[in-house]
Amino acid sequence: MKERKVLTRRVGKYNPLDLKAYEALGGLQGLKQALSMGPELVVEEIERSGLTGRGGNGFRTALKWAFAAHQKPKPKYFICNAEEGELGTFKDKVLLDGDPWAVLEGILIGAWAIGAEQAYIYIRGEYDKTYSLWGKISVEAKKAGLLGKGILDSTLSVDLHVVKGRGLYITGEELALISSLEAHRAMSRPKPPYPSEQGLFGKPTVVNNVETLANIPVILTNKAEEYQKLSVREERGTRLFSLSGDVKHAGVYELEIGSGTLEELINEFGGGTLNGRPIKAVQPGGGTSAFLGRAYLGCKLTAKAIRQAGSEMGTAGVIVYEEGKTAVDIVRGLLEFYADESCGRCAPCRIGVVRCKEIVERLSDGKGVAGDLERLREICKACISASTCGMGQAFPLPVLSALELFPEDFEAVIDKVSA
């Protein structure tokens, strides 16, 4: 298995403030191509490439764009979601810091495709240096005529607002991000209406992940046909895997989708487990994805294969857990985080995540009571079916999968109690 550097090919190769160097390395070709094609053809080209969102949901990018492009109300907004808060996910930072112009190019092409004149990039608050870099990027871009009126002598006009997140996990959810930009509390709401109809300030809005946008110039520069040659039949392109947890070499690795298995990723790039112990479980798509046990380590790295194994590819944040820790403690760590981060808008998540946390804390302290496991399962299922947004629907997934995969870990603590 080999890395296939497509999105990260320029990372570390030039000074991120140097636009000339970016151009010399093949930059801006995608934007020029897009401007000469016109918005409709750009959406078609992205559609043909088969690009799906890299932020977790895996929605088809071109569909989002087409919905928004067909909306009549103006102004329209284009948002780059750089509030990378998912546990075990740190791949967007590599692109934001290492090849910011490619992300900007993606934003501009997106704005062109849907007809937006206002664009936002919402950067995670903890990424302080990234935020100040982007402040400089936006100044440089204005000087070079890449932001403002008549970009590259075309009819495209875009203003970019660089916004810093304020420390809430939930702002990574697109509707919570939008409500945050409206200077409300960061909270999601039921869909529909989707942001592409009624988003920021009630206007058509597209929210795309950083990695998704970095793909856009690649597709337009080389044409969709070239892009389709990357990876397996149904899923196109490369993915940036953030590998972390109990591995020797945590890091971001770019692989062609489907070019290897989970085990190969962990052993060949991660250098095996931290203490050389066997792997206990893996979360393949960030902290809210279901655990996969050892039996599924041979799973190919495609969204479809991982779904069939019982989890989700999500943000491709692969978190590895080796033997030695009980599943109760692992789940406790996750639930303590999510209980802190629930926005509180809808009852299942607001109350459910806290009750789950209480039960698991009790179990891990050896104070579990009879019926705790059944209760835990019941609350999790209720949260999945009744929560408004992705967070409430997803935090129970690792809990339920841990109960299924490691019943002995949970029963061990229950036994202690009744004995």
Binding site: V163, G165, A183
Partner: protein
């Protein structure tokens, strides 16, 4: 980041640099105030409320929900 002591002139300069405040950039302005002074002073909330037509409560309601906004020095 080094914080400046709150002065109304510094705040007004900051507003000017951002071409004033509106519903569209309120969140950004609040962020800049936080980053400059280390908190969002009462005077600022009052002024922004007047300028945007929002109630002070509305602005405080949002501010206090974020981990990285402070309302006291």
């Amino acid at each position: 980041m080094s914080m400046k002591e709150f002065k109304i002139e510094t705040y007004q300069k900051l507003l000017k640099q951002s071409n004033g405040v509106s519903v569209e950039n309120l969140f950004i302005i609040l962020g800049k105030v936080q980053d400059t002074f280390g908190y969002v002073p009462r005077e600022v909330v009052r002024d922004l409320a007047t300028r945007t037509g929002f109630s002070e409560t509305r602005i405080y309601g949002a501010l206090t929900s974020y981990r990285d906004f402070k309302v006291r020095s």
